[in-house]
């Protein structure tokens, strides 16, 4: 498998085509936050909305456009974090960030378990310029959670 094929694994192609969570919807939860992020290299944008149910992620939805890496990544993210506690989501996000920094090497089993489908992004780590694409949705997610909790005491 070439580095290129490693990056564009079938899982990623599938997520890119059939993205999870796409379409910004009204969220009927006590705490809702939204974030708009732009990848300045290419102008890709994402608007992501998060609804919190206590300290649990109740709903994630988003709209935006971008390359297959960014679209697949936000799709996988939506699938992964929905239902997780904030703490779990933090750990998932940390693991994903580690994966991006791993220069194409797989992570240990614990973190791979956390990531599930998202381990397919391992190949992106070989292409520093694309890490931004893969992280775009995660940045939006992180920021949306901050927004959602902003007015919380």
């Amino acid at each position: 498998m070439s580095a290129l094929e490693q990056m564009y694994q079938q899982v990623i192609m599938d997520h890119a085509r059939q993205a999870h969570g796409r379409g910004l919807v009204e969220i009927e939860l006590p705490l809702v936050g939204e974030s708009h992020q732009v990848n300045t290299t290419c102008g890709d944008e994402i608007r992501l909305r998060v609804g919190l149910d206590g300290d649990r992620i109740g709903a994630v939805s988003w709209e935006g456009q971008g390359c297959s890496i960014s679209q697949a990544s936000v799709s996988v993210l939506s699938e992964l974090v929905e239902g997780e506690s904030l703490e779990e989501a933090d750990r998932t996000m940390d693991a994903f960030r580690d994966l991006m920094q791993a220069k194409g090497e797989p992570l240990d089993d614990d973190r791979e378990d956390l990531l599930g489908d998202a381990t397919a992004f391992v190949g992106v780590g070989k292409y520093p310029a694309r890490i931004k694409c893969a992280m775009l949705g995660w940045m939006a997610f992180k920021d949306a959670v901050i927004q959602a909790r902003k007015d919380q005491p």
């Binding site: 192609m13 290419c42 390359c67 297959s68």
Partner: protein, 424 residues
């Protein structure tokens, strides 16, 4: 076509990239590679002549000042300007901002009576075009915000050409500045400079030309073009990074207030007030990019030794190959002139939108084949928007580009849809 032996002058072109593949460099529109003559000029400066310019009486200072001013002369010669009409700037962006901020400062009361001619305010207009690089748009937006003037723009037609139908309305008695690009960095289209300058002159507007994509590729003569200001960058014309230049008519430069203030640009400084030197010094506050000026001078000489006519001929032939090659591919859209692949008013730039595939993904496949192109909006968001897309994949050439490079690009491009399972 220029001899491909000229490639030997460019050390970087011999390196290999992904999986040991030879490099096919088609990103010269973003930044060009440097000939040995340029690299050596900078190194030689540091190893033998480095000293403070214009500020010392010792031998090194003398030599450094001599080389610095000789470089200014070489750059002036390249574009048909007088020696003291060339101002160094960090890049073309800074050069364009220098004009816009100078006008803003004049409007804020800086520069006294001699600067009064530049003052603008509510009711005045600034005109740009929809084809501008952000560098020749955002400074004018900011100037409009600062002064209360109104920003207007000349639209672009479906073929990427400026639509001059409403020119007389868009550039009118209220217009203080008409700023436009000489060559679009997205479509490669050359603007109708003569018509635009004529109209600006008729209404007494200043003209500001963005020469970033013309100076490296075409013979450019500011006197013949009759523009008031022109900005261009070293790194796109085979020179070092970290420097660019502004051409300005001497009498305008001597009256425009500076916008970066400091040493070397001033005559008498008291704690209360400061008087400025004439151009170009008034705009060159602080220690200048001396080694870079020397390198940019070497780049100008290198281009003049080839001959800008020959550079242009090379560019035209590659443009035809590039546009022809892309036009033949199914599922691809060439942004800009279509249907006239041999268009006479374009340089060798091809920005392509591949149906159903994002430019980042296209670029990745090309990169894997050793082909370096640029993907994204290329700092021309409004023009992309005009074409209904957010980004594109752009190939762009320079003197060292060969027909083989172009072929490698079109061949690799042809494989992209299949890789992503998209029917072309």
């Amino acid at each position: 076509m220029l001899s491909s032996s000229l490639r030997d002058d460019f050390p970087l072109l011999t390196r290999t990239v992904r999986n040991g593949k030879p490099l096919v460099y088609l990103d010269s529109g973003a930044t060009a590679q440097k000939p040995r003559a340029v690299i050596d000029a900078e190194r030689d400066f540091y190893e033998h002549h480095n000293g403070a310019v214009g500020r010392g009486a010792h031998l090194l200072a003398e030599e450094a000042s001599g080389l610095f001013e000789a470089a200014r002369g070489d750059v002036a010669t390249l574009v048909g300007a007088q020696h003291e009409e060339i101002v160094w700037a960090e890049n073309a962006t800074a050069a364009l901002n220098l004009v816009a901020s100078g006008i803003g400062n004049a409007s804020a009361g800086i520069g006294g009576e001699e600067a009064a001619r530049f003052r603008i305010g509510p009711g005045d207009e600034i005109c740009v075009t929809e084809a501008e690089h952000h560098a020749n748009l955002v400074p004018w937006q900011a100037l409009a915000t600062r002064t209360g003037a109104t920003l207007r723009w000349i639209p672009v037609d479906d073929h990427g050409r400026l639509d001059l139908d409403d020119l007389d309305e868009l550039v009118n008695e209220r217009t203080a500045v008409l700023a436009f690009t000489h060559v679009s960095n997205l479509t490669g289209v050359i603007s109708p400079v003569a018509a635009l300058v004529a109209r600006a002159k008729a209404v007494g507007a200043l003209t500001v030309l963005d020469g970033c994509q013309s100076v490296p590729h075409l013979p450019v003569d500011v006197a013949a073009l009759d523009v008031d200001f022109m900005a261009f960058s070293s790194h796109k014309m085979l020179g070092p990074t970290g420097i660019g230049a502004l051409y300005g008519r001497k009498e305008l430069l001597d009256a425009l207030p500076p916008s970066v203030f400091g040493g070397g640009a001033v005559k008498v400084v008291t704690m209360e007030t400061t008087s400025w030197l004439d151009a170009p010094m008034r705009f060159e506050a602080g220690s200048q990019p001396v080694a870079q000026a020397v390198g940019m001078g070497a780049a100008a000489r290198y281009l003049m030794e080839i001959g800008m006519d020959r550079v242009e001929a090379h560019e035209r032939e590659l443009a035809a190959l590039l546009r022809g090659g892309v036009a033949d591919l199914p599922g691809m859209r060439l942004l800009g002139p279509e249907g006239d692949a041999d268009a006479r008013d374009v340089i060798a730039i091809a920005a392509v939108s591949v149906d159903g595939i994002h430019p980042h993904d296209v670029g990745q496949v090309l990169d894997d084949a050793g082909i370096a192109v640029r993907v994204g909006h290329h700092c021309a968001q409004p023009l992309h928007r005009r074409f209904g897309v957010t980004g594109s994949t752009r190939a762009s050439a320079h003197v060292y580009t060969t027909p083989d490079d172009v072929r490698a690009f079109t061949e690799a491009l042809a494989t992209v849809p299949a890789f992503f399972g998209v029917k072309a």
